[in-house]
């Protein structure tokens, strides 16, 4: 590593393991996993009388939490964020069940794709830190 890079720069790079970007990615991964889980649960109950489909509300909350974030300190709004569940409110059929397999499959695909994207971003992020640690020779 270049001698000119003082202790402060080194700190900022290694501190990157838990910086705001990483925490946002982790939080979004949690949200995507919850979205997938809830969609899978809806599909599991496609034939259960009286079951009402659920949705994870997350993205909007993440946006709000990001806006409320100040300085990106650990334990901030993003880190405290938890996905919440709400009903879809779709009209139910004669047996009181309102699950639409088409909608749930779309939801599943979307969640899986988002999860994959976020994983790749997080992986790159960690690789960058690894590169810094490995004296620029790669992770």
């Amino acid at each position: 590593m270049d001698i000119a890079a003082g202790p402060s720069e080194v700190m900022s790079v290694t501190g990157g393991v838990a910086d705001l970007t990483t925490r946002v990615l982790e939080s979004a991964l949690d949200g995507a996993a919850a979205q997938h889980r809830v969609a899978a649960n809806n599909i599991a109950n496609v034939e259960t009388p009286g079951y009402t489909a659920k949705r994870v509300r997350f993205e909007e909350q993440l946006r709000i939490a990001l806006r409320a974030e100040q300085g990106g300190e650990p334990g901030g709004p993003v880190e405290r964020l938890r996905p919440e569940i709400a009903s879809t409110g779709d009209a139910a059929g004669p047996d009181g069940n309102n699950v639409s397999v088409e909608a749930e499959m779309t939801e599943l695909g979307e969640a899986a794709l988002r999860y994959r994207t976020l994983t790749r971003m997080l992986s790159r992020r960690l690789q960058m830190v690894g590169t810094a640690i490995g004296d620029g020779r790669g992770a």
């Binding site: 919850a34 899978a40 649960n41 109950n45 919440e84 569940i85 899986a112 994959r116």
Partner: protein, 138 residues
């Protein structure tokens, strides 16, 4: 916890779907059964599905899928068929036949098979996500 949850949820549905398919197959197999171990003709049986609690506790979103709450008999009246040559015919020549309706069973079977497919696809998707998560380390 979190990621395995999705796979387990789909697994519970596959298990319930299998039971449902077994019960439908049993009904179809016994569509002409006039004498069972309990005496009397076969009565149609039906699976009762119940959803398990979904919650968003501070520990994260919890889902537990579906379960078979009961397999219960259908109370619909048995069918009386005139067949004097039948060994179980009564004095007037009528036989009590099971209350199984083949078209209903067939429709249920298609629904059960499609639901099973959807859950298998969900399980596949969950498994792929799990593999993706492991790739963070790669």
């Amino acid at each position: 916890m979190s990621m395995f949850g999705s796979v387990r949820v789909s697994g519970s549905a596959l298990r319930a779907g299998r039971t449902r398919m077994d019960v439908i197959a049993e009904n179809i197999a016994n569509v002409e059964t006039t004498r069972t171990a309990d005496g009397g003709p076969w009565r149609r049986r039906e699976v009762v599905l119940r959803s398990r609690q979904v919650s968003d506790s501070p520990a994260g979103v919890q889902c537990a899928g579906v379960r078979v709450a009961a397999v219960q008999s259908d109370d619909a009246p048995l069918v009386r068929v005139y067949n004097p040559g039948h060994p179980d015919a009564d004095a007037e020549g009528y036989v009590q036949m099971p209350n199984v309706d083949l078209p209903t069973e067939m429709a249920d079977m298609v629904l059960a098979a499609r639901a099973y497919e959807a859950n298998a696809a969900a399980l596949r998707s969950g498994r792929e996500m799990l593999q993706t998560a492991l790739s963070i380390l790669a």
